[in-house]
């Protein structure tokens, strides 16, 4: 009997453009495989793709919804990307987002300030909330060596359960009696971008932050240090870099940005904090960071791409009844795609049949 054998062998590093082509081809294969699941609903993959793109980009409404979706994903993606750069596996962006949202909602509800200042303070509260939320995981990792994958993950549940408790038992909205906080003051609301539906200032700020990250990543010694620490912390330490401190800062920043995403959801979209504030922006952020390989441009494109998929799938669900969780299947496969692409850069993968 002849059996297939997968051969993975080193090769000369691939030039970037080839790598990008491989990347795109693999994504397409992933999409085609996933979209087989639309067939039971009487839809062929290409029509599905067409409907998805139409729903997410084909109209002004769709496009603005895509951007609204992208705003938090850009921030969580950026945050996770910075942590992943130093190989701190922050899987807890979802929980950090909620804590950031909680703190900024508190500021938005209980404090009155003139508009720009109020926005600033509430944003800072979001940053602080996210940083506080990730801090225990960093501390446990650096002090006791506890694996951050587990602690950040479990902390998602802890924070979200606690916030749910707060909203159900201590901080109900007096107007609606829903488990959601009272509405924040107008002065803390992020301005909308006129003519683009619910699109808000958070998106612009996200773009600016990506720009700053781009400069740091390509030109500054901090970007260089983070990259080197991620590649080989021991060598970095021997080269005199302050490894623990850099990882600490990167991880803290990561949490803070996720917290900011939560704050902007409150300040820009819902104007209150709810249990279902995030449909998984934190997890999407992990995908975005992975897919974008922690590179600023990669993160930006990935955030856009992931938002298109999510809004597209939502619209597909509305128009054809195909369950939205199929988007998750595709997104999950994108992790494998990203992992494969990382490998392509220095390995060749072949299948041979042997007896």
């Amino acid at each position: 009997m002849r059996l297939p054998e997968i051969i993975v062998e080193r090769r000369e590093p691939l030039p970037h453009y080839k790598l990008i082509i491989y990347y795109i081809v693999t994504i397409i294969i992933g999409f085609l495989l996933t979209s087989l699941a639309t067939i039971p609903y009487g839809l062929d993959p290409f029509t599905a793709l067409y409907l998805m793109l139409k729903g997410s980009l084909g109209s002004k409404y769709g496009f603005s919804e895509t951007i609204v979706r992208m705003s938090p994903i850009l921030l969580t993606g950026l945050g996770v990307a910075i942590a992943f750069l130093v190989r701190f596996w922050n899987i807890g962006a979802e929980g950090q987002l909620y804590v950031g949202a909680l703190l900024s909602a508190l500021i938005g509800v209980y404090i009155s300030l003139p508009k720009p200042l109020h926005i600033l303070v509430a944003s800072v509260a979001g940053l602080v909330g996210g940083a506080l939320a990730i801090y225990p995981s960093i501390y446990l990792k650096q002090r006791y060596g506890v694996d951050e994958v587990v602690t950040t993950l479990l902390s998602n549940w802890i924070y979200i359960l606690w916030i749910s408790a707060i909203l159900h038992f201590y901080w109900k909205n007096p107007l609606t009696h829903w488990p959601e906080s009272p509405y924040i003051h107008d002065s803390a609301e992020l301005p909308r971008i006129p003519g683009f539906g619910r699109m808000h200032l958070g998106f612009i700020i996200g773009i600016i932050l990506i720009g700053i990250y781009y400069i740091m990543y390509t030109r500054s010694k901090y970007g260089y240090e983070l990259k080197m620490i991620g590649l080989n912390p021991k060598a970095a330490y021997l080269q005199g870099m302050d490894v623990d401190k850099r990882i600490f800062i990167a991880a803290l920043l990561s949490g803070a940005l996720a917290g900011l995403a939560g704050a902007y959801e409150v300040m820009g979209v819902s104007h209150t904090i709810r249990e279902d504030l995030s449909p998984g922006y934190g997890y999407s952020g992990i995908l975005v960071a992975t897919l974008g390989m922690s590179h600023p441009i990669g993160v930006f494109l990935a955030a856009f791409f992931v938002s298109i998929i999510e809004i597209g799938m939502l619209s597909l669900q509305r128009t054809t009844g195909i369950p939205y969780p199929l988007a998750m299947v595709f997104e999950g496969s994108l992790f494998a795609v990203a992992a494969l692409t990382q490998l392509y850069s220095s390995y060749r993968i072949r299948i041979v049949w042997r007896d």
């Binding site: 590093p13 500054s220 021991k234 060598a235 970095a236 021997l238 080269q239 005199g240 220095s346």
Partner: protein
């Protein structure tokens, strides 16, 4: 039967790795009951050839015959069935299992629920027959290097190997252990088993073999009997024409640079590994530390460069106490390290050559806001590449794509060029391990050049020849202390060997 005199025949074996033909159309044969040395410098293709024979690698082309019958091995288990066994250069033992478990791991005859008692009986028989001192129920993680090698040998005997391949087994052994191993070779070859002994040491090949096959750059260049040749001819066959580097001793020794006083250092498990060692290195000299690995050298070095805590005692550089400072401060005091494991301690393997070359200087070339001067740095990197002869198509390719010799050049270029005027003492740990002769000579010449500039060099190596040839003074380290000191060039290799084995 004449045709079966050759227990192994390999014909036209060819194996290519990305970027290098490791084995190039090689013919090799092994006679029943002989000790056959496979001689060649690092990278000649010896290990690859033998891994092919052992079924570990698949050749791209070529045929293998065992007892005159053609075989096609898919994995080592096939080779083991034909009575071929191999001890790899780096031991292949599972530390978390016991000696016995390691040995029976591949035994197909043992049922699903292993019959430990009968296996243990056989292992003990083997241990007694060959006079190995070993308890089959100890965890392998607790064994010394010599003991681990014995476990590997027992594996072969347990498998009943008729062909035993040893890949550079002597590098990690004390002279005493070495002669025990050679005696073992004689004994088993008298039992009609054959030995393939891989080495790059000419004398060893001359002394133990019935025949010697010399490999160079993937090809077999000759197969000879020791009595028909001599060391010089072997050397010429093995390396071809290479400028020998000139061995020189220190011309002037100056003040004491590095002074270590009664140092005590623990290992990761909290056991003392350095137990009151005192060492002095002066300007313009190379001080070699000889000794079997695992006698505290690693902990000593790590303490000097600041990545391991000093428990007691102190370390001075030019009279300044650097004990327990952090690594970047110690480096700033002028202590340079060429780390033992260049791939994982010295280099960022996935980063580019450029990023690797600038990891010392990037701070100085950054402005207050932290922006790096990439243009200046690029020029600097190109200068180093030129000066140190680093062969790379481009500075943006990952350093892992370079050969071992070029990687070491990257490390040396980076460490030696930074802060020329502050540099005072170099700690060189196994600086030429795994390199071919050309790269080795380059490294040694460079060390001597630095000595001429007046630097002090502390050289740690398990390669006795290296310590022997370069050092102005040789210290022998045993069980955490310096037990002997010799003046370089005034001691014979035998004398040194005895001292290392602990014979005073």
């Amino acid at each position: 039967m004449k045709s079966h005199e050759n227990i192994i025949e390999m014909h036209g074996i060819y194996k290519k790795f990305p970027g290098v033909v490791a084995v190039d159309n090689v013919d090799f044969n092994l006679i029943r009951g002989e000790i056959h040395s496979l001689l060649g410098e690092n990278g000649a293709g010896k290990s690859t050839l033998m891994k092919i024979l052992y079924g570990y690698y698949r050749p791209d082309r070529g045929r293998i015959f065992v007892d005159g019958r053609e075989v096609r091995f898919r994995s080592p288990s096939d080779a083991i069935k034909y009575g071929i066994g191999m001890v790899f250069q780096h031991f292949n033992l599972v530390d978390s299992l016991t000696v016995l478990e390691n040995i029976i791991l591949g035994d197909d005859n043992l049922g699903f629920i292993p019959d430990y008692s009968s296996a243990r009986k056989r292992v003990i028989e083997i241990i007694n027959e060959y006079g190995f001192k070993l308890d089959p129920d100890t965890g392998v993680g607790y064994l010394s290097v010599g003991e681990k090698q014995r476990v590997e040998i027992i594996k072969l005997l347990y498998q009943n190997s008729r062909v035993m391949i040893f890949d550079e087994p002597t590098t990690v052994l004390t002279p005493a252990e070495k002669s025990t191993l050679f005696n073992f070779f004689y004994n088993v070859s008298n039992e009609d088993r054959s030995i393939i002994f891989i080495t790059h040491k000419l004398e060893e090949a001359m002394n133990v073999s019935d025949r010697i096959t010399v490999m160079k750059r993937g090809k077999v260049v000759a197969t000879l009997k020791p009595e028909e040749t001599d060391i010089n001819e072997l050397a010429r066959l093995m390396v071809g024409r290479i400028e020998p580097y000139e061995i020189r001793r220190s011309s002037r020794r100056g003040k004491t640079i590095l002074k270590i006083n009664g140092l005590w250092v623990k290992d990761d498990l909290g056991r003392f590994r350095v137990k009151g060692a005192s060492i002095e290195v002066r300007e313009g000299e190379i001080v070699g530390i000889a000794g079997v690995a695992g006698n505290g050298q690693k902990e000593l070095i790590e303490a000097i460069i600041g990545i391991r805590k000093v428990y007691k005692g102190s370390i001075y550089v030019f009279g300044e106490d650097i004990t327990n400072m952090d690594p970047s401060n110690i480096f700033n005091k002028g202590v340079i390290i060429i780390p033992e494991d260049r791939n994982y301690e010295g280099l960022f393997m996935d980063a580019s050559v450029y990023e690797n070359l600038i990891s010392r200087v990037y701070r100085e070339s950054s402005n207050k806001l932290g922006f790096m001067d990439h243009d200046g740095l690029r020029k600097y990197a190109l200068k180093l590449i030129d000066e140190y002869g680093i062969q790379t198509p481009d500075i943006t390719i990952p350093v892992k794509a370079l050969s071992g010799g070029n990687r070491q050049r990257v490390v040396l270029a980076r460490e030696f060029s930074y802060n020329e005027d502050r540099k005072k003492v170099i700690i060189a740990v196994y600086p030429s391990r795994g390199l071919d002769i050309k790269a080795t000579n380059f490294v040694r010449t460079l060390l001597m050049r630095e000595r001429e500039k007046g630097l002090g060099i502390l050289l740690v190596s398990d390669d006795l020849d290296e310590v022997f040839e370069l050092s102005d003074r040789i210290l022998v380290m045993n069980d955490g202390v310096i037990i002997r000191e010799f003046e370089g060039g005034r001691v014979s290799e035998e004398e040194l060997g005895l001292a290392i084995s602990g014979v005073k």
